[in-house]
Subunit: 351 residues, 5 copies
């Protein structure tokens, strides 16, 4: 479906996909599990009712948010507010949490690096609707299947996910997303260290564009990560009954990681600013050095050129010209002048 | 009526239009509707009493705020405070909300782009008085009829407006205004992306004025958008009985869009600052390159000019001049000196 | 009386005038009024007891704060704390409000422009003591009689002042002072617009001093205006019984104007900063252009000068010199070299 | 006693003097007074018990904080916590207030200017222990006897000190210290005004070091003054019973002066920043002017030099050289070229 | 064990050591003491149960956090949450406090300088688990045995540690860590003073890299120190029963030292920024001076060179050349021109 840029003029609550164009179709997947039991299948839209079963946790993963009919159908089946559906389909919506009577709605952003050589952040819009005993996750597009590690852990019954409820599943998925921020930051940090070394050792001539690209990525990253703090604060305040007190310590851990990411972003931004300063200082120094070379050349050759000019004049009566050793004395005088000037520049510290 | 710049020295509560000069006359329009019923007409000032009818929603749209007599009459009919009327006529008043016993007063700003080529923000002063079952809207001037999409939706009975009260109508109009901010920001963002590409690729010689114009627009925009947050916070806190709890989720949505606009403004301002830095770096680099060219020329030609000057001297006794190959040896020496200097500059990385 | 700079070492509560030297004598004026009645007279210090009459509002205007005896006498008659009197006489005291058992003490600053050509702010120290049914106002000096508009309105019985109490009078006077800020800001804004145009069109060579003077005035203005917010917040919180709830909407209006002034100051400061940036960019560009001119000249003439130098050498054996067309070939070669260099510079974008 | 730099590795509560080396011995002085009575004497350490006498106020002034034995003895006699004694002897401790069961502990900084020509701040560590009916003051060193004005006022029974309790004495001493800040700020302000004039009139070549020194002093001053706000806030909140409500208005006055000092510091720092900007702009302008001079010289003389070079060539066949008026025509052409170039530079605004 | 960079994709609560590679083995030590009794021994992991003995304080010091089995065993014995153990092993975790039912978990950072010549901060991850009557401390690695001063004081029964509980021991260890910050800051301050002197006296050519290194260290330091404030605030609010009210004054003292460290860091950062400004100003001044030299040389020699060029022309008819004194008059004219230019430059203040 063709993407749109805004909802201007549309009736509020209209379902419109806002984001880059997508070619693929939406893929649905249902995972049901409890301590003893595990089942995965790919349902039709009509049959994906996941709500309210006590004995198992049901996870509906919706991979694709660009088809309004599908999102609308899922929303109708699970009684999700149309404004929530609007947010699920709007990739411009930043991270947030909203509490409703019988579900919690959470938006976060999965971040990836696009391309190889240059760092470019790619943000994937991820939403969760947590209901009693069920979780619905919405992914913008599948870049290397971001929820696979958790799916595999559930299948292999590794870790505590199988022993816990849907709130723990929500935690596990959010933890995955946020731990990935730290992985990206680690990579940016390495790039920055490389750049720092090149700048300090002065082996790179124009690092400003790369510094700028990194700054831009960090600014973008901060914009995505910052509001997640508020999401986690709301969870930790116990605003929702759907997240049990026993799961809160896990969310506190995620909160710590978010703070760690923000700290790391801020530290790297400060480092970048300092590097830009150093770069300018280097530019100034190089300019200074060029100017000094120019000045020394000029100051050295101009007097000499004047001297040879004098003895190139054609006056009838120029006694020096007649002197048999005049030429050699003149050359000697020129050497003395040059030596004197060089000595003077050395004393001023220009050589 | 001739515009005025301030109320200095006037008795407080005096009705004076403060803003740019206007030529048109005020146009009044009343829209009455409920689920089954819809009527539009253009009343005289005296007959536009809209307050307090239970069965229908009455919307009085006042298009023109520069005629004190009309504003005063409307104020008298609907028992609106004279300080409120003063604010309705003062285009310098920023966005705000005030709660009175039986009405709510809201000021916001509709933003447009003036002209085509260069970005210039044009702010239209828009006020609302929400009363029980009625809404009065005041527009500074009609630039392409800003409330038309809502008027049409009511007429066509599209969306939920016809099924809801005056508070939903207020929401629909505010939503329209704020969604338009996002449209403008989208355009500014595109302009900025163009400029960024030109600066990074160095195909634009003096982008500083345009960068400055964009910065100015963003600063202005922030000034208009920022106080709207407070307006919506007050609504969301439930400060007024006139806005029903069922309508609050819609206002929460508008609040989200305002935050999105502010975030976007801030991100673009940061980007602008970074672009200005890059621009300066480019200037410095270009200067450096000019200076190097100068220095290389000077350093290359000065010694050669000295040599030819020496053999232009007129001493009687200059043995080299008599040598039959002297001229060619000298030219050879000059080539060697030039080659040596070029080699030296290449090693210093200046070529 | 000779002015003093500080109270260092003096016993606290000592009455000392701190401010610029004043030559005039203090002038007292009493205005009594109610709905039907109005009287103005100029009392002696001893007889100016204004407190506590129910049926009329009494306004004592003290024009001059540099004579400790007069201030002390007035303070004694009206039972004003000695620390308050100290603040009335200290022109360095910033805006503040203090609530006492039976009076409220308010300090604000009246701002004027000094001189004509250059913008220089002049702050006048204004204090109010609001008592039951009475207001005492203290002005540092009379520059064009700042309270005249209100005095005239009372005399002419225009507006609501005559129908209201002393708290409304306080509002009317504060409103006058604060509306004048907006008038000044309007003038500064016009100056800034002029300057902006000159800078953008590059028709002004050194605007930095004027930019700096404007920045200084705005900084000063902010310093004076900012604390008035707190004064009005305290009034609006209802901290004092002497200001009746019915008068609060008027003070809310003043509060709005103060915020408007602060917003305007901040916007103009931001604009100034941006203009300074543009100015520097212009300086850099001009430097670049100068350097390019220099470099082109040097690069163009140096090779030509070398060529003519070569054929100015005096070697016996220089075959070219003997060639009958040598001179013209050489001139031709020089034209070719010059044309080649000019072509090269044009391709590098320097011409 | 030799000074120490830190308490690292020492048992907490160990009494160590941290600060610059001191040669003098500690001097003790006791002043006892009430409305009718006044006595001053210099006790031995053992006999200086000042606590708890109802009828008189006892003030023990300890001048010297570098001798641990004395401080320890005084602490033991008056039951002062060892952590408090540690703070009394640590000149790095910033201003603070601590409330204990039967005393209040306050640290502030007395500031002086060191030297005459250059501004250098010298901070003196001052602590107070306020007990019922008694005050102990600790001074780091006696620079011109800072508490003398209060001592003299008590002796001469001037002002209200003799009529009030120990809390008023504390106020009087703190007032003295803080009023001195305003005196210093006045001096810095004058220095800054001088510097401003020199910079604006461009009569000073390198003001950056002095600007920097002033900035440093102001930064230091802010560091000392800022935490005093918190001390006074705590007093004004009524955190301590030892300070009577009747004395609070006096402390409110001190609080005002502290805010005034902070405002003044901030305004002067902003001014400094602006001056640094102007200084850089001036540097840039001067550079521009130097470069223009260089460019004009070069551009003017290079073409002329080329012309004379051409007619200095030694070709056999150069018809112009044979022309009897050739020399004069050439000189004429050179004058025309020079005039044309000068005209061109004037039109470009370089002359 | 090989280090790891993140926990991405791992099941939450997995014990992984995140930090630089370590070669050593973990060393355990138990110190038991009370007023009369003291015992130190090195237990096996299995036997190090320290919890809950009333009569003595038991301190288990775990030196090494890279072996998951050991940490896990200790965690199991003392019933420590697996998320806490994760934090103990994650050297990226910043300072924090967490309160559990029967223990308090605290993370702080011990800072050292690495290397000698250049300042490089080395952060050691230190965690504490305070239980009733017992403290477990975890150190990342032993750099000069950071807890030795406290161990020795306990052994020698110096100070109050032996007389107090486990909470006092926690205080003593935290105090040690934080006092060390002040020692480091003292050293940085000295380095900065040296650098300042060199820059102000202009005896150092390129200080930017060292300024940058210092700035980086201070930024890092602030990042480590800042969150400790929150740790201490939580303790001082009395959030935990395990820390007795009698110990709080000691923690308040530590809190003061943390604030002192932060103040010192901020002051030094501000100083650094100012030094960078001065450095740029110096660079600009030096450039200006170089440019002036160049310009003076050029302006002085170009006219002279033109004059000698004129009389080097070969026109047949140049009357001056025939004049017997022409040469000497010309030299004289050149001296006059040079003197005039020098006089002009002196008047413009360039010499």
């Amino acid at each position: 479906m063709a993407p749109q840029n805004s909802q201007f003029g549309l009736s509020p609550g209209s379902l419109v996909y806002i984001g880059p164009e997508v070619e693929r179709h939406t893929v649905l997947k249902i995972v049901e599990y409890n301590d003893q039991f595990h089942r995965e299948h790919t349902p039709e839209v009509e049959e994906c009712h996941v709500k309210g079963r006590d004995e198992v946790v049901t996870w509906l993963d919706v991979d694709g948010i660009h088809e309004p009919e599908i999102i609308e159908q899922i929303g109708k089946i699970h009684e999700i507010d149309s404004l929530v559906l609007e947010d699920i389909m709007n990739t411009r919506q930043k991270a947030k949490i909203e509490h409703f009577d019988d579900y919690v709605f959470i938006v976060i952003k999965m971040l990836h690096f696009k391309g190889r050589q240059q760092v470019t952040l790619d943000a994937e819009h991820v939403s969760f609707v947590l209901q009693k005993g069920a979780l619905i996750s919405f992914q913008e597009k599948r870049t290397g299947d971001i929820f696979d590690p958790v799916m595999n852990r559930i299948k292999a019954s590794v870790g505590k996910t199988r022993k816990n409820g849907a709130d723990y599943l929500l935690f596990a998925l959010m933890d995955l997303v946020i731990d990935h921020y730290l992985v990206l930051l680690e990579k940016i940090s390495e790039q920055l260290d490389d750049l720092e070394e090149q700048i300090l050792k002065n082996t790179r001539h124009d690092p400003i564009n790369e510094l700028y690209a990194l700054k831009r990525e960090l600014t973008l990253m901060r914009k995505y990560v910052w509001p997640i703090r508020e999401v986690l604060n709301s969870i930790l305040r116990g605003d929702s009954d759907l997240i049990q007190p026993a799961t809160l310590p896990y969310f506190r851990d995620v909160h710590d990681h978010v703070l760690q990411a923000i700290d790391s972003i801020d530290a790297q931004r400060e480092l970048l600013t300092a590097l830009i300063d150093i770069h300018y200082s280097t530019l100034s120094n190089r300019m200074n050095s060029v100017m000094k070379t120019l000045t020394i050349y000029t100051a050295l050759f101009m007097p000499l050129t004047l001297i040879v000019g004098i003895y190139g004049m054609n006056f009838d009566n120029m006694p020096e010209l007649r002197h048999p050793e005049g030429y050699f004395y003149t050359l000697g005088a020129m050497v003395l002048v040059a030596a004197g000037l060089l000595f003077y520049f050395r004393r001023r510290g220009w050589l």
